[in-house]
Every structure is written in C-alpha cells, then in structure tokens.
Symmetry: D3
Subunit: 142 residues, 6 copies
C-alpha cells in the first residue's frame, strides 16, 4: 500500500456565519471571521489516495488524471468564488474548513477507483490549508 | 546603509472591477478576477526600511515598533475585510496589487523616520504577495 | 472525526547536555549540540486536535481559543527563553525535541476538551520542527 | 513512542518508461514524463523512525547518524544521477515515486535499529516529494 | 513605476559539460554536475516587469497574458526536456543558470511591451532558482 | 552582469544587549530579546555575487567553492555558537542582524574575486533571515 498525494490551489471568499443567529451572536462567536462583506484565502488542497502500484506503470494512479478530477469536481467550483453564495455543495452549510473537507471527501471518494491503475485504490485523506497556520484533515468516517 | 525587512499577513476579499465599465467588459478584461461575489487571498506584505544602524542598539529601527505601525495603519484596515467595500484608502481605486502597494507606501512613508533609531531612515520598498506566484514591488516615485 | 491543526512559533536557546556525564562524554555523544554557551532555533509547533464538527459553528474547536491556550501554556514559557535554564516543565530533562513534544502533550492534553465545541474533542498530535530538516511527532501513549 | 523525522535532498534525472511497451504506448500513458532524453527533479526525502526516547540522551536516534546512513545508502546513489540508467536498486523497475519509496524502505528498514539509541526503534515512513505538488508515502507492508 | 512579478515552474534534465574539454577536465571542473547521464531539477522562474499601472485596470500588465507568454516562449521548450539536447535556444551553450537567464531574457525582453497595458513597460529581471539554495538573477546589460 | 546567489544556514544563540546600559534599560529597549540566558534562531544567510559568466564554464563562480568559503569563514564560526560570547568577529558589537550582515560583508568581500571564474566578480549583497518575518540586507557602503 502506497499513499499518493496531490496538491492543488484555489482562491476564494467566505465568512463564518450561522444564518439562524443574530448578527451580534455571529460576531461574538466568529469574531472578524464573520465580517459581513467577506474575506478570503489562498486555500491549499491536498488529496491523498492509497493503493498498490500497478506493475506496468509503477504507479497507483495517474496524477494528471487525479489533478483533472480534482479540478473538474472541486477546484472549478471553488476557485475565485464566494463559498457562502456560489458553491453548490456548500449551500446550507457553514463554510468552515471542517465542513469543506467533509464535502470534498464526499465528492471525490466515489470517483477515485475509476481513474486509478489499481481498481482497489481509494481516497485516504483530504487536507485543507486555509492559512500557513490553520489546516484540517479528514480521513472519512471511522 | 542597511535594509531592514518585516513581513506581515492579512486575509482579504476583493474583485478586480472598473465601475465605469459594463459587467461584460469587466469579465472580458479581468476574467474570473471580476467575479461579482468576490474571491480572496492570504496576502503577504513585506515592508523594507533603509537606514544606518544606531550605535547604541545596533539596529536601524525597532522591528516591534515597525510591526505595530504596519498593523495599526495598514493590517487592521485590510485584514478580514473586503477591499472593494470596506478599506478607506482604496475607495475609488481598483484593488489591484499595483494600486495597493502605492497606497500602502503613501501611508507608511511619512511615518518611518519618527519610529526609527536612525532619524534619516526611510521607506525603501513595499512588496506584496497576492499568491505564491504573483507579487508586486514599489520603491516610491523615481 | 476531523483533525484540526494549528501552527505556532517560538525562538529559544538550548543545548543537549546530560549533567551526569563529563564534558567530554557530552561532546562525544551530542557533538556541537552540546556547546556549553548554547545555540538556538526558530521552533515551529503544530498542535492537532481531533473531534466532530459542531452543528452550530461547523467547527471542532475555536482556533483563536486553541491558539490562546497554546500561547499561555506553552509559547510564553518557551519563546525567547533558554530551555535548559528557564523552562519549568523541562527542568531535570534533556531538552531534546523528543522530550519537548512529550512535555507539551502532557500540558495540553487535559485542557483541550474544555475549550472545544465538541466536548469529546481531544489532543491527537504534537509536531515540533527544530529545523526545516529535523522534526518529531508524538501521538500520546499507545 | 515518538516519531523522529529527517529530511534530505537529491537532484536526479529520470523518465517514466516501460521497456516492454512501444514508444507510442509509453507516450500515450506517461505523456511528457516519458521524454526519451529524460527530465529531472529536486527530490525531497523524509525518513521517519519510531521509537522510545533513550533516558540518557533524551533521543530516539542520533539524527547525525541517521543522516549519514541515508546519505551512504540512498542519497549517494541517487544524487546527480540518472535513475533509469545508474541506480543499482532501481534496475528493472520503472522509476516512479511509488517504486522509489518501496525500494528506499527496503534498504533502510533493516538498518535503523542498529544505529538508534532505542534497540526497538524501527522505520515508520518513507515520504518522497517529486515536486511541491506531487509526493508519496510508504509505511511498509500491512 | 511598479514591479510586477510572476513565478512559473519547469522540471528539466541537464549536465554542466564543455564539449571542447576532455571527460576528465569536465569532471575536474564541474564535479558531479558533469555526470554523463544527466541529472535534473525543479526550476523556479520569476519574471519581473516594470511599468506604470494603467488607469482603467489598475494593472501594469495582465498576469494571465504574461503567464501565457512565458509558457509559450520558455516553459514549453524547457519543461520535461533535456536542456543539453532538446532546447533550441541553449544549443552551443553550457546549460548553466547564468546562461539560461541571459537566454530567457533575450527571448522575453522584446515581447513585454506588446502585451502590457503600459506601452512603456519592459522586462526588469529574470530570476531562476535551480535549487532552494542556488539561484541567479539577470537585469539585462548595463 | 549576472547575480549568483547561494543560501546557507546556521543555528545560533544570541541576545540583544548593550553592556554600557543597566539591565532595566536593556529590557526597556530590547524587550524579550534581551533575555539574560539568551534565545536563538535558525538563521538563513544568502550571499550574492555579481560578475560576468566565464566562456568556458558558463558560470560566474563555482558555487561549491563559494559555499566552502562561506562555511570556512562564516558558518563554522556561527553555527551552534553563542554570538555574544563565542564569535570573534562580533566581539564588542551588539549581535543585531544589521551588525551581522556588515561584519559578514567585511569578511567575504575581499575574498570573492580570488575564487570566481570572473576576476572582476565581487560581492553584491549579504541577506540574513533571522526568522521568516525579519530579515536584513547589506550592499556595502554607498
């Protein structure tokens, strides 16, 4: 079993905001992250796939195919967007990094085996850096 | 003459948008950077001061004082803000990195000598990273 | 279960030195790291908490609270200090990275659940970079 | 149990190429990575050892000894070399990152306990960055 | 005058080798960099343009156009190539970083004004990182 | 004229302290940087040489020779040392970054031409990072 990791980037606006709370409650809980006109980040997304290297290619998955999948399913929906207003898979959710990694996992997990050399390859981890100092990881349910 | 450099960070939303143009013209010129709901970045700001090291301290400027100045005059106005809507010194300007560095220069340049050990110290450069791949520098008028 | 990670920094002096050994033995074992007048590092400390995102906030823990806790319990005791001479929780221990991560774990582990949104959240990992090339990780006893 | 990590570097040329395939098939599968005159990378290799810190030294392993071992067994054979043509332990294998981490694991795993302070220390992970965006990890067979 | 900087990447193989010298002389002068089967690097290329920000866009140059120009004129010729054997603009030259930055300057300098908003914009610097520790800069003839 | 840059590292302890001042005055001016038991940093030193590339080698200077010179003249005196107590060329000076870059310039400047391919090559800049956020540059007297 080898773990293969691919890093991609997107730049997006968001705010932490619970619509069932008052403006004051949101500011009390989320501080400046609740700023009503949004703020933004250069997000770094790392997708980790685990599987057995294929004999013919020496690879678990073609990283160019993995990169294309991440772009078409995730990056194109997030890059240069407002996560609160424009990202279909985040509607009705607070756009925290925790909710983002779970949502990205659910999008990508069912699609990995189809594009891998190893038909048993599967998604292992979604890691998301919001800043150099803040990042989250999700390994699926367990 | 020694050059002393301090890096600070801010996270902000913006969009490239010329209000005298149509929506179509903005999209044609600025592409996804014109997205009407904004996007954002982790900006890195480097402020460079030049001067002669003081005999008593061995320093050109107290970097804690320089950091405080940058925070009170620049970072607090930009961090977790929408540059188009909320930053006083960018009103009426397109929030490009080029316009940001010139505006930040104009704010900081007159205030450097007052907080430096060297009374002749002055601002040398404002460098601003929008992403790891895009950055701009301004050295004042010449 | 989501893993939430926060990076902090401290600059400290230390030396690797076993007081029950002779000066020669210390130099033989630790080489230049035993230098009697100390040397130092820009340490990077990554604290990883695991838990379930809270429904109301979308977050496992408020990262500002986590950062404050790390500062008051760990960073303020280490930053700009001599680890051999001045850090209470390292007295009687060789200030290796291995001993540092275990000591920091013991300080932080009991305090995580109290400040998290998820009352079952707990410390998952202490990672400490001494240099870009040398780092250690501790995941508690197991 | 503490995990101790050491990063090393090597610069090498390689191409992804399966000698049992035609030139066209190689290009179809590997794209520009199959370029017949090779291309190259600044590889970053991270070796992670797990063990119990020794009472006398506070350390699991002497990182200078670990670095020397990695250099003599791995780096000297790869650095400034052509992996397809010149690296004995990669002959008959496609020089993918997946095959590299498994081969490096097999070289280093039997030699860790001998140089560690903890006689039960053992290799935990080989991580290899080919670029900033592509990296793989191997934790041995399981 | 504002300086606008764009970073791009390419991965290439090369060797330092003077064909008018013997194999022994090449090894004596260039050491392992002369390895006859090549080695390679992840090169980072920074292109810096200077000019006056345009009133309508707030920008000196459209960075997407600059990136496209760098790709079509430089990156596509170098990426996943052997610089000694396959790069037309380096034929007859030793593929040192010094020679690379001068050659890249000569390619890009005449093409900058045509794609910039400022018709007086011009190339200011070519910076090339061969590794994290070795890089060169060229500012044209003066 | 091409600028050739080499990065090296050293880890050292220091404190900012003016011996002609009282303990209180030192603490007032230098804050925690005056801590009497020292603190330390992972310093990064960048040495920039300017010159004309040699026809036979394509290089301004052999970077391995430049690295050796920096090590023998500078790094060996600073690495794993206490700058206040143990570094001959800093005695009688406050170990600020400003004073360090001027002192390192004075050591290296007279020795560059002797080891360069270009006999007219000369030192252009000493850049020293104390942390990721604080760094200084010196270009000699002018």
């Amino acid at each position: 079993m080898v773990f293969v990791c691919r890093k991609e980037h997107f730049n997006a606006a968001h705010r932490l905001f619970n619509p069932s709370w008052s403006k004051e409650k949101n500011e009390e809980v989320f501080g400046i992250c609740a700023n009503e006109h949004y703020h933004g980040h250069n997000f770094e997304l790392i997708v980790i796939v685990k599987g057995t290297p294929d004999e013919d290619t020496g690879c678990v998955i073609d990283l160019k195919k993995l990169s294309k999948l991440i772009h078409s399913e995730v990056i194109e929906k997030l890059d240069h967007k407002n996560i609160n207003l424009e990202v279909d898979f985040m509607q009705g959710k607070i756009p925290s990094c925790e909710n983002l990694v779970v949502a990205i996992w659910e999008i990508l997990a069912p699609k990995i085996a189809d594009i891998a050399y190893d038909p048993h390859a599967r998604l292992h981890c979604i890691r998301l850096f919001e800043t150099q100092n803040n990042f989250v990881e999700y390994y699926g349910e367990w």
